[in-house]
């Protein structure tokens, strides 16, 4: 790790004030002390259940929320409110819902052309159109779709438009916020393959947020698992998938549907007891201890730090 990573996040915290009473505000710790890095042209998968702060991490990375604390470094330079405009040429985002992330009153041409307009990346209208058509070709859309409105497309095509928009400024890093979870399985495969091909072609790095473990394993080089705003396990995709150590990751992996009845019968499913605790009233120490089979007294006292278990496989657990 001598080279500076493309994007590095250090101790990122994102708290939201929530009004709980007339004069009482409590802090909702959506993201609490998260650190990770992404190298150039690499994909980091971010998994976790709903409401664990995956999306917040992605949005905070692009300063769509002002981070409460912590640092975001792009090629070693901190991303701040001041330089965010130029940083947005290097970091972009693909959104989860292809139906609400495209303006229904704009044509495809204008949607894809908007980043070009904002950053003034063309000198003439002809050049703008040329760039837009090139982007559309890149994501597998026909040139004749340019004058259409977003509602005339299917979910997969809409997501392609969203991807073309993110690619318009020629970014080095794209946050993909559950880009396939709103699509059919068959379309998911197409879109994921396209993400991979684009990575090969353009050398972009992804932060791939998803809750589908198979998808994440397929596309990512490394995976980080989040639980209640904290990263509990991170490592190479294979390590996290096949040699998972943290009890939460283990239970996630045991829940992955595998189309092999014989294997499923022999597999032991780890079913978690209880519900996710309220993020407003986090349990002391390790947030997972209320549902963990291995919890001991130490878990209630302090949050376990991420410790290296070899090969960069970091796990935050006292017991295992």
């Amino acid at each position: 790790m001598s080279k500076t990573p493309l994007v590095e996040v250090k101790n990122l915290k994102q708290y939201f004030p929530i009004k709980t009473g007339l004069f009482k505000t409590e802090m909702l710790k959506a993201v609490d002390d998260v650190s990770f890095y992404i190298n150039e042209g690499e994909t980091l998968g971010l998994v976790g259940e709903s409401g664990c702060g995956k999306t917040t991490v992605g949005r905070t990375l692009l300063h769509l929320y002002e981070p409460t604390a912590g640092e975001i470094l792009y090629e070693g330079t901190p991303v701040t409110e001041k330089n965010i405009f130029s940083m947005r040429k290097k970091m972009q985002m693909v959104f989860q819902d292809p139906y609400s992330s495209l303006d229904p009153r704009m044509t495809v041409e204008d949607i894809i052309g908007e980043p070009l307009d904002v950053h003034k990346l063309y000198s003439s209208r002809g050049e703008r159109r040329e760039k837009i058509l090139h982007l559309m070709e890149l994501v597998g859309l026909n040139a004749e779709h340019a004058t259409r409105y977003a509602h005339e497309f299917s979910g997969g095509q809409r997501q392609r438009i969203g991807i073309a928009r993110a690619l318009a400024v020629d970014p080095k890093f794209i946050v993909c916020d559950e880009p396939v979870s709103a699509l059919d399985v068959s379309i998911q495969a197409q879109v994921i393959n396209m993400f991979e091909e684009l990575q090969e072609k353009l050398g972009v790095a992804y932060l791939f947020i998803a809750h589908d473990l198979l998808v994440v394993h397929h596309i990512s080089k490394r995976i980080a698992v989040m639980y209640m705003g904290k990263i509990v396990e991170t490592g190479t995709a294979d390590d996290v998938n096949y040699n998972s150590i943290h009890p939460y990751t283990c239970s996630l992996m045991s829940a992955v549907p595998i189309p092999d009845p014989d294997y499923i019968r022999g597999r032991k499913r780890i079913v978690l007891e209880g519900d996710v605790p309220s993020p407003l009233h986090m349990p002391s120490g390790c947030p997972f201890r209320t549902r963990c089979n291995h919890a001991c007294e130490k878990c209630a006292e302090a949050m376990p730090p991420l410790t290296d278990r070899g090969n960069g496989h970091m796990v935050a657990c006292w017991v295992k």
Partner: protein
């Protein structure tokens, strides 16, 4: 055919790789089939779709026709009718004292004499008023004034309400809170009282040189515009703020932010076009309410200044001779009714056609 080469597969396309097949395995689509494809994939925009629905609504189409006819009348009629709205009728340069309160399509003695001598007099379609002026022209000019007031007042309301509402709704938080409390305060002011007070105060402040356009409109009219500008925009501001609050939640706004689009651009490009339907509808409904207010004020004597007619002041003038000449109240009243009713029906039609929440 000469070019039987298969199209090359786009490397990222999800299409079947056609190079695996031979060209003879396929049959060329006939022109008929191609045309079917064209029809199926015709692109409809939101606007086109709304217009199509609007023209299916008979009430809306009817009111468009009525408004169109009224519009043509008030533009064309003053060109054809040789009388002026403040002109006291005269025949051959001699003041026609007998042309007072004539019934529709009748002539005074002097005019009849003139016609009998081979001269031509344009008929008094609605008769004349008690000051020997052609009533039809006065009603036409009154309608003109009322419509102009309606449009301009609506535009003022629209502009201010849109500006205020979009800023308040978009920025949200404390800014929104303070801006909306100001709106609440303005909302609670009694508008009629303010109009009366303003027209009194403005009379002394505004000193137009006689003969200018503003002077002929009269201070009452100006104060009416000012009142619309000061008071009536709050309803529009609230409406647009509410729209923007809901549009703001959409992911495409977040996407525009992540691109780096500045706030003004987001409002102009994404938010306003998306609440355009609501803006159109409420403007269409604002016009009759402005016309109604103007007529009402003119009726109580606070509207346009004489000799400029307006539908309200004509109705007020006709009140005196109601027993003898009921038709003189009927014409301006009918014009007000037709205009207000048509705009209201058109507004309803627009809402049905453009409001996505009402889609069946």
């Amino acid at each position: 055919m000469g070019n039987d080469k298969m199209p090359k597969k786009n490397p990222l396309s999800a299409q079947i790789n056609l190079s695996k097949f031979n060209s003879f395995m396929f049959e060329k689509a006939s022109d008929e089939e191609k045309r079917q494809q064209d029809v199926m994939s015709e692109s409809t925009t939101f606007f086109k779709d709304g217009m199509r629905k609007l023209f299916k609504n008979p009430l809306a189409v009817g009111s468009i026709v009525v408004l169109g006819l009224i519009l043509i009348t008030i533009i064309v009629a003053p060109m054809i009718v040789p009388y002026h709205y403040e002109e006291i009728l005269s025949v051959d340069g001699v003041r026609d004292k007998g042309a007072k309160n004539l019934a529709p399509f009748t002539y005074s003695k002097l005019e009849q004499q003139y016609i009998d001598n081979g001269g031509y007099r344009f008929p008094h379609i609605f008769g004349t008023d008690e000051q020997c002026r052609d009533y039809f022209v006065r009603v036409v000019y009154g309608t003109r004034v009322s419509l102009i007031v309606g449009f301009f007042a609506s535009i003022i309301v629209l502009f201010l309400g849109m500006l205020y509402g979009s800023i308040s709704g978009y920025l949200g938080g404390k800014v929104d809170l303070i801006m909306m409390r100001i709106v609440d305060v303005i909302y609670s002011l009694p508008d009629m009282l303010i109009i009366i007070l303003l027209s009194v105060v403005l009379q002394t402040i505004l000193n137009f040189s006689p003969g200018s356009l503003l002077a002929s409109l009269g201070t009452n009219m100006i104060s009416l515009f000012i009142v619309f500008g000061l008071l009536y925009w709050v309803g529009m501001a609230r409406l647009i703020r509410g729209q923007i609050l809901s549009i703001k939640q959409n992911e495409y706004i977040l996407a525009a932010k992540s691109i780096g689009a500045p706030t003004g651009m987001i409002i102009k490009r994404h938010i306003l076009p998306n609440c355009l339907s609501v803006i159109i509808i409420s403007t269409a409904l604002q016009i009759p309410s402005a016309i109604f207010t103007e007529s009402y004020l003119s009726f109580v004597g606070l509207g346009v200044q004489a000799p400029m007619p307006s539908l309200g002041s004509l109705a007020n003038a006709a009140r005196g001779g109601l027993q003898s000449y009921p038709y003189k109240l009927m014409f301006p009243a009918l014009a007000i009714c037709l205009i207000v009713l048509s705009f209201n029906l058109l507004g309803d039609g627009l809402r049905d056609a453009f409001d996505p929440k009402l889609k069946k």
